[in-house]
Symmetry: C2
Subunit: 632 residues, 2 copies
């Protein structure tokens, strides 16, 4: 048989093939990524390509004429599955026809994967019943979809059934079916609504619920928003929530109702922002710590808080909208990512997914700082993880002038070592009203550097500056005088604040150091530190090391990955392969129970020093500290 050459643009690749072959087959056989959902039947219209030499391609088919617009035909657009190669041919494959490789933007990490959501929207034109062929419309629709899109064993859900008569009626039987996991029709709509496919990724934090509305058609983020977790009225940390659930009548149900209200409020905000109807949001992925996960489900969280700290269920779950009373499309699916252990939830699974620690060669320390801080250490050969009770200090709680990282918060501080003048940056510009986590780390580091506090955290009471003053028997350092601020008072960091921050940072560092010991490595072996969490974006890595939150590695190897848990939830929304990874991770991550470590308390106390009692662990600061000590 005569051989011909197909040249693929824009890459310019040349493929030798036999005359008469289908262009789609030729391209696929040569590994050119091209879309096609109907298995080459000319129905889905996804394999559009431009044929440069019209005459060397087979005639346009009936199928093509019914699917392509006049404008497309004028531009020499064809369906690859309908074209037979008659001679040497140059074809251009437009971006829309490429199999979609998506990059998720996780700060500091390049993460890419194929867009492969559980939701597909497919056109369908089921034929009409007649007196001679009285097959019901639901069965007609299922047969149409199975025959035209290579599907098997398809079923139809209750909500789609209810909408089917009207959808068929009002569209002259030209509808769009929404299919979940290639096996269940969950919605039907009149006309072509294939582009109106959305999902929402939600991270339920102890203090914040963040939601992100995403197009399932192109993977783009449409809107992001967050609210405070309304459960906060029953305690600000996980333990107080669990206590409330255990000790008050119907406590779990009350907390459940609050968080579901919160999730629904986030849905309403992002769908309004994005101009998307909730009926077109077909899936929700949810991540959160184990307590938030259990409470959302209405599962009593007590087992999480008492030894051996085991969740009631770990594996991923798919629930209906009526199970959780969540306001997305009635037939939609709610996918909860799997947990790891009582104190390491699906938010940590999502952190790992987003930072790709499990596929990376680099030995990575991944820290998601929050009221509970999750720490992971490992690479593709295995990952250890643990949870540290760091408390809400870095989020502003229990700190005299502490606040969240919102407008008016001091987020950067530096101190002149000679005259102790303070420079600071305020979120949103303007006058400050308080200080947020990154500012606290800065001031702590600067106070150490300027010798205004010692390694144990004690404020130097013989200090040479009037910024240190005694109030009610206790010392404090004034960051901003009242006249500079937008409040009635000075903004200061007190001796008590410093103690709180030391405990918080010690909890985090102890998690890191125990995992390092378990893995048998030292700080120098770590190739990358990923800092996640709402406030992680703004931490100065050098200061974080002076304070001793993170091990002493080169600052350029510390990357900020932002809300990686939300990124991971978004990836799971866009790819069922990522969900499979998540389930594997849930089994593969090795949980380390810090409370069971014999030397835990000892290590925690040593870690409250700034940066640490054992300066051998922080060699890059050892010298300067020894110098200071010499002076003192």
């Amino acid at each position: 048989m005569a051989e011909v050459v197909v040249t693929v643009e824009p890459e310019g690749r040349k493929i030798r093939t036999a005359k008469g072959e289908s262009l789609l087959t030729v391209l696929r056989a040569s590994g050119v990524s091209i879309r096609s959902e109907c298995g080459g039947r000319g129905v889905c219209g996804k394999c559009k390509i431009v044929v440069k030499e019209k005459a060397r391609a087979s005639e346009m088919t009936e199928q093509e004429r019914s699917i392509l617009t006049g404008a497309e035909i004028a531009l020499n657009i064809r369906l690859a599955c309908q074209v037979q190669v008659k001679g040497d041919l140059t074809v251009l494959i437009p971006v829309e026809s490429r199999l979609r490789q998506r990059k998720i933007q996780v700060e500091g990490v390049e993460t890419s994967f194929e867009l492969n959501p559980a939701i597909r929207k497919l056109r369908a034109q089921p034929s009409k019943s007649t007196i001679f062929d009285a097959k019901p419309n639901a069965e007609r629709l299922l047969s149409f979809l199975e025959e035209n899109y290579d599907l098997n064993g398809l079923t139809i859900g209750y909500d789609a059934l209810k909408k089917l008569p009207r959808a068929l009626n009002s569209s002259m039987r030209d509808i769009t079916a929404t299919i979940w996991s290639d096996h269940k029709v969950i919605d039907v709509e009149a006309g072509d609504t294939t582009k109106l496919a959305y999902g929402i990724a939600v991270d339920i934090g102890t203090s914040k619920i963040v939601g992100q509305l995403v197009s399932l058609d192109d993977g783009q983020v449409v809107a992001t928003n967050s609210i405070e977790n309304p459960q906060i009225i029953h305690g600000e940390d996980v333990i107080s929530r669990i206590t409330f659930a255990s000790e008050s009548e119907g406590g779990t149900d009350k907390l459940r109702a609050l968080v579901i209200d919160g999730v629904n409020y986030v849905i309403s905000m992002v769908s309004k922002q994005g101009g998307v109807r909730r009926e077109n949001i077909y899936e929700m992925t949810l991540v959160g710590n184990s307590a938030m996960h259990h409470i959302l489900l209405g599962i009593h969280p007590l087992t999480l808080a008492v030894a051996p700290y085991v969740p009631t269920v770990k594996r991923s779950l798919n629930l209906g909208t009526r199970d959780l009373e969540v306001q997305i499309s009635d037939g939609g699916n709610i996918h909860l990512l799997p947990l790891i252990a009582g104190f390491v939830g699906s938010d940590n699974v999502a952190d790992v997914l987003a930072t790709r620690v499990h596929t990376s060669e680099e030995l990575t320390l991944l820290i998601d700082i929050g009221t509970n801080t999750e720490v992971n250490l490992g690479n593709r050969d295995g990952i250890l993880c643990c949870s540290c009770a760091s408390g809400p200090a870095f989020e502003g709680a229990h700190i005299h002038d502490g606040m969240k990282a919102v407008q008016g918060a001091i987020e950067r501080v530096s101190l002149n070592a000679r005259n102790y003048k303070v420079k600071y940056e305020v979120i949103g510009g303007g006058k400050p009203v308080g200080i947020c986590g990154s500012g606290m780390i800065d001031i702590l580091a600067e106070l150490v550097r300027c010798n205004l506090i010692d390694q144990t955290g004690r404020i130097n009471d013989e200090s040479p500056t009037d910024r240190i003053r005694r109030v009610n028997e206790s010392l404090e350092f004034i960051i901003a005088w009242s006249e500079e601020t937008d409040k009635e008072d000075d903004i200061a960091i007190t001796q008590g604040d410093i103690r709180e921050l030391q405990l918080a940072k010690a909890a985090i560092y102890t998690g890191c150091s125990i995992l390092m010991r378990k893995r048998g490595i030292r700080a120098g072996d770590i190739e990358r530190i990923c800092l996640a969490g709402a406030f992680g974006n703004f931490i100065d890595p050098a200061n974080a090391k002076i304070v001793g939150i993170i091990p002493d590695i080169k600052s350029e190897d510390v990357v900020f990955v932002g809300n990686a848990a939300l990124s991971g939830a978004r990836m799971a929304l866009l790819s069922t392969d990522v969900r499979r990874d998540a389930s594997e991770l849930s089994e593969k991550l090795t949980y380390v129970e810090l409370g069971a470590e014999p030397k835990f308390n000892e290590e925690l106390i040593a870690a409250t020093y700034l940066p640490h009692k054992n300066l051998d662990l922080f060699p890059s600061f050892r010298k300067s500290f020894e110098r200071k000590r010499g002076k003192a």
Copy 2:
């Protein structure tokens, strides 16, 4: 190896086997039906037997000691799976240990099948998590069930998950799991609740909703009750309901809410009667005509009422309690039996299931009389079916003194041919207030027999009795004088009533006659007529033939099967094999659209005659009619 003989009591059967074999294996291999759910692991305790010669059986095992009570041990009860045969042995298999073959009491029909519900309740004692084995409780439970009861791929539902922590906690980890279809745990409870397994079979009729509470443990009926279908405020027949659904804003949803309220009311009635908590009702089977089925689901019923009269969905459906807002166990399942066509619903599938027409050799005519009457003709070689618009006359509507078959209704009437004295029987004794369907058939037949109406239904205006009188230009026959009744007036049957009843009976007979023609048979070929329907129990077969409702076959071959639809729904509740039959029937029954028959109107008019215009069809009455004609 030495051979021994096991004698099985009470049947006295002898089995030869090798010494040392497990008794359970021996019994099963010889086809003795014996229960065992754990696959012979000594866990389920279902294979209890009595061993007569204690010494010739192996020693009692640990497993037996933990499961059998002291009293049982004293009675020589053992678990067959734990006994090895050491010598000749006599074993008694108690009824409880037999595989359960159940008889459903359908009047006039013997129906038996194996009790094999979709719901199983199984004991489980999952071990406790430790710091070294931190498997979550849900996964522990699933593993326990899979290992001990030969199950695979088991999952746990949302409602069971929610209840799991408390159930384990309050029972020292000794719980009962409810499993649906051998693959999903839908409930968990503390302690042994295996006997508390109930289901409810519901028949949603156009005029009545009937529910029957059944024990899934032993198949017994616990309670039955019914209410009027609350949709009746929007019309008394299917067509007026469909019209309401189509023409009023949100009509389908309004009707749906009404019927769901009705079903929930029936559930509350039967569970109160039976002393059963709704939490222990795990499954509901539902049958009804296609319109009731669609409206219950909230599917617009319009396609049912316009050509080609096709339902939106036919196949059987399993729904969650939150889909239909039905108040059984939260994790319970609602099984809707499949439909056949737009006018032949799952009630007819259930009728066939209950009467076993599809497995029987006898050529059967099955008629379920109601506002719509379904007729089936066939046997195991094939069944034809159709729907007749018989209207609500036999249920008392549009009949001057008509009423339902309740207290005060005349249900039997006879007339003295010489003096025209009337004898009647009243439901509940006492004085009559009206007449119900069976009474109407009796009086119609007696009026024909006594020559007081002619074959066309016209009342004889030259009649020799004062019971015939003229009121407002129209004749009527007085059944009971006002002084005999419990109302202000006489009870009479008017010329108008007779016309209504003629139309109703003609509709039913025409269905029968068209199916007979399609099958190519005559009345004489029919071996059995099954009459179903709420009022079918009280019809006199001879009178039904005189009136011409049913073909002219021997009266002893006419059987009354009562509410066969409800019986079929109950069978589906008790056996998944019956559900499989139902799905097959839904495809195998051949629907005949009467409206498409060219001679339909002609046949209908001929059938309004009493019994029929063509007396060749009613040979047993031909002679007497011809005699009368001669006289007249």
